[in-house]
Amino acid sequence: MKFKEMIAKLWLGIKKLFVPSSYSAAVPSFIAIGFGILFGIFTMFIIWMLVITGVFTVDNDPQFFYGITLLLAGGFNQGMYSIGYTLYRAAPLILAGLAVGFAFRTGLFNIGAPGQMIVGATIAVYVGIRVSMPAPWHWMFALLCGMIAGGLWGFIVGALKALLNVHEVVASIMMNYVAMYSSFMFIKGNNLLDGNTSHTLGVRATAMIPYGTSAFFGGYVMNIGIILAIIAVIVIYIVLNKTTLGYQLKAVGFNKDASKYAGMNTKRNIMISMAISGILAGMGGAILFLVSGKYIFVTKDMMTAELMSVGFDGISVALLGLSNPVGALFAGLFLAYIRQGGYYLNLANYMAEMADVITAVIIYFSALSTALYALVKAKKLKFKSRTKSRKKIADEDAGGEV
């Protein structure tokens, strides 16, 4: 089979995953979440059993029931404090998901969100360290620069696709690595490194995303990042649903041929769409790092763990949120919630990675969503008809007795 056909087939599949044809498709997302959590609990149970029966010995025995409550209580475990922390963690996830989902709505697979986040974060941190400005302007300016940097990074991918016909998946994967290494060079080249460690200096206090309501959330973490993310969700929702720009971007995404027929400039749309997607990802990166006590590490493993992974989480968030802005909001919140729950598993002597197991299972299941949904529906119908026929038999029996 020709390479082109293979790509086209693959694309068909991916497209089906992300942009379901019906909105009742949210159901599979919920089913997937349910399965994921059940699977997580099941795994925890197995671990517990293995320890209890002495197959494994560990330093501290896991506490199964306590663990379940911790896991499910997620971001509620420590009251307002952990709610605040969950919201803080959710903001970049939402933005990454929004970036991927937005691109998908317009027919593009932006797997380059990680790279866009990296450049967004790097430039924002640069402005946060090097530029001196009064308080509200400084962080806004840093954020804006991060957004522009992310947007440019996305735009490059869009331009490569539109003008040179390079598939965006290939281009953006490469741009992810270019982003990582050029970010290292940029940080070292501009002396942004903290001389005692392998990470950047802290950004100036004026460049930190304001804490706003942190007192209410009982801690030092909660900043207005979540509010910015929600604003982004609203803006993207409006752009997609209320503007001519969104109209044509969606048209191109749904049916490129018809858009071309209708006189839309599909190439320009691809570039615009990738740029907007990059802006969102860059914003996520900036919000992630314009925070007190948070630094960009110039090592590959730390960069991968701290920035790349959030970008890739964006794909999961978009998938779970059905590429819908509001969906991304809830999916991002959910992911942060369950991760926060995973963190509290520390207390019950389970590994926090349990949350990753759960999210992985959820993603797998929501990828299988359509099949799953059909299965569940068929089961339900079968069940109904079975009860019906049972009733019929019962009726007949009764009839026989009369």
């Binding site: 001389g195 460690t197 392998s198 030092y220 973490v221 948070k294 701290e306 963190y343 520390n346």
Partner: protein, 368 residues
Amino acid sequence: MKKALLALALALVSVFTLVACGEKTYEIAMVTDSGGIDDKSFNQGTWEGIKEYAIENDKSYKYYKPSEVSDAAYLAAIDLAVQGGAKIVITPGFLFETAIYAAQTTYPDVKFVLIDGEPHTADYSTYKTEENTLNVLFDEHEVGFFAGYALVYGGYTNLGFFGGMSVPAVQRFGIGWVAGAYYAADELDVALTFTADHYTYLGSFAPTPEAQTTATAWYNAGVSVIFAAAGGAGSSAMLAAEEGSNKWVVGVDKDQSGDSDAVITSALKGVGEAAIAALTDYYDGNWDGGRTISLGAAEGGVSLPADFSRFGANAAAVEAAYEAVFAKVVAGTIVVPTNDKASLAAFLTTLGVDNAALVAKAEPAPAE
């Protein structure tokens, strides 16, 4: 369905109150950094020390993994540890400096042991160590010295240095390594080759193909041993060494001989011992906080591993020489230069060595 929801809601509500009175408490707590307790390095070393002490003395112990790498997340994990009943919290690595700076005042009744760092504010403007905090640093220069000394005694006279990043602890390793090598060369009156080209800070603790290429090039240029004070990047040097014949790597932090057959010896930092010492003091009522202790050869904080078999025929001789020089350092007869190039230059001058280019490489101009 409704029932399930109700049950869930009840569970949520009950958990609000549950956390505060989590079922068990743990007196000794460790907060890991991003690596986790099986990182074959700092976290693992510290954790093994804690375990050893706790099991021997029947104390409850537990580690907490923060949700991300940030001061806030470290602080949150410390909070969790304290809520979990921690009386003493041990944190490995300088990344905890800012978090401990805050935590030590938030929890005056809890003891903190900060390994390899000193608490300060994020912008380094204020350093402060409260009574409840004990900082443990290591004399990396001393163990670097031992390694350089041992290798020259083992007959290896063309050396190189890989530093992960140009941070003080790594600089100390490198300066000690240079000093030890020249010291031995002077004693034995052999010629030592150590060009400035073969001394580098990689800029990363991660293994990369570039690092491996560099190592291979050095080995091809005649270098026989590279001291890889570079965390995971050391494995790149090991791969390069395995390809050559009679090419070696000196490991770092832990005994790395198990990682590769090319590891001839390792520059050990006794993080586990440090944890044990701090715990012993605390439980014996001898807590003496509010200060920084430096664990050097004299305190048993740094050393080479006992096994010298990879020196081959010279093993016994090298071991004897090492023990002799170890005693001299402990006794203070030899004062190993630390992490400033001036003291290294002075040290070399006393040996009649002039290698200004190398000295300049050892402590590059700091950032900014």
